[in-house]
Symmetry: C2
Subunit: 142 residues, 2 copies
Amino acid sequence: MFDEIEILKSFLRESKLRFTPQRQTILEVFLSHEGHVEVEDLFLNIQKIDPSIGIATVYRTMNLLVECGLARDSVLLKGQQSFEKLYHQSHHDHLICTQCEKIVEFEHPLIEKYQLEICHTYGFTLNHHKMEIYGICLDCQK
Amino acid sequence: MFDEIEILKSFLRESKLRFTPQRQTILEVFLSHEGHVEVEDLFLNIQKIDPSIGIATVYRTMNLLVECGLARDSVLLKGQQSFEKLYHQSHHDHLICTQCEKIVEFEHPLIEKYQLEICHTYGFTLNHHKMEIYGICLDCQK
DNA sequence: CACAAAAATGATAATGGATATCAATTTAAA
DNA sequence: TTTAAATTGATATCCATTATCATTTTTGTG
């Protein structure tokens, strides 16, 4: 919580931008969400705290959070733009139920290893990866 | 080429829809593309063959192709809707250069194996998966 | 503390991709 | 051939996101 605000502050300082109450509120509400957040949900929760904040500022600020590495675009929900936390999150992949759209996050160390192999084979320098497995969860199988 | 048209035809028959010249043209142009196609590119190439086909028909037909399993939404390019072939394609994952956006398709048998393990752990029935590795390709490293 | 310059904000207009509408055309089947 | 249903293309509409702009806020300087 503390760290993230410091990261945003120093990013803004370096870019000659300003740390404003609106930006703080938006960051805090974003951090309070687990997993993947759509802009709409984010906006609703932000307005509970400060109804004067406009949707344009939310979009602008979320783009800043992506730039400074605190958030990234989540590619799970196609219709709307959505985000997930990046900093202080252990890397995880996604198991997605195709029926109820439940999302489970998981880690598998060997997948991390094989992606290195693959990069080597094709001469790529590894950056990051995304893996999504689609299936039907226990609840929906009943 | 032949198979795909038969699949579309029988899907349309079952749904009491009709196989039209426009739908045939759109399917053929779609199949002639390798990898991931944006609607815009698809539309341009369709118009070279039949300039009277409208953009609405392209969207409508692509949705039919997704419904009958010949295509699926590609999640690589976020801005525009884009598609990739599903039928007669061996399953592959993607290696993406974050600099030039080049896409290399690869397969790794062990990844197929570990996703089964993961599904078992969480009680999911496996459906399919998607994996994307991001890095910098040889050309861009120079 | 006051003041000027730069940046941020909120309201709203503009944009652009995707979908809905509708009159005209085409198709299938009787 | 005739009729009902589906399809088409043109275009209006929708809606998420971005751009614009007048106003407000912030920062830093004297």
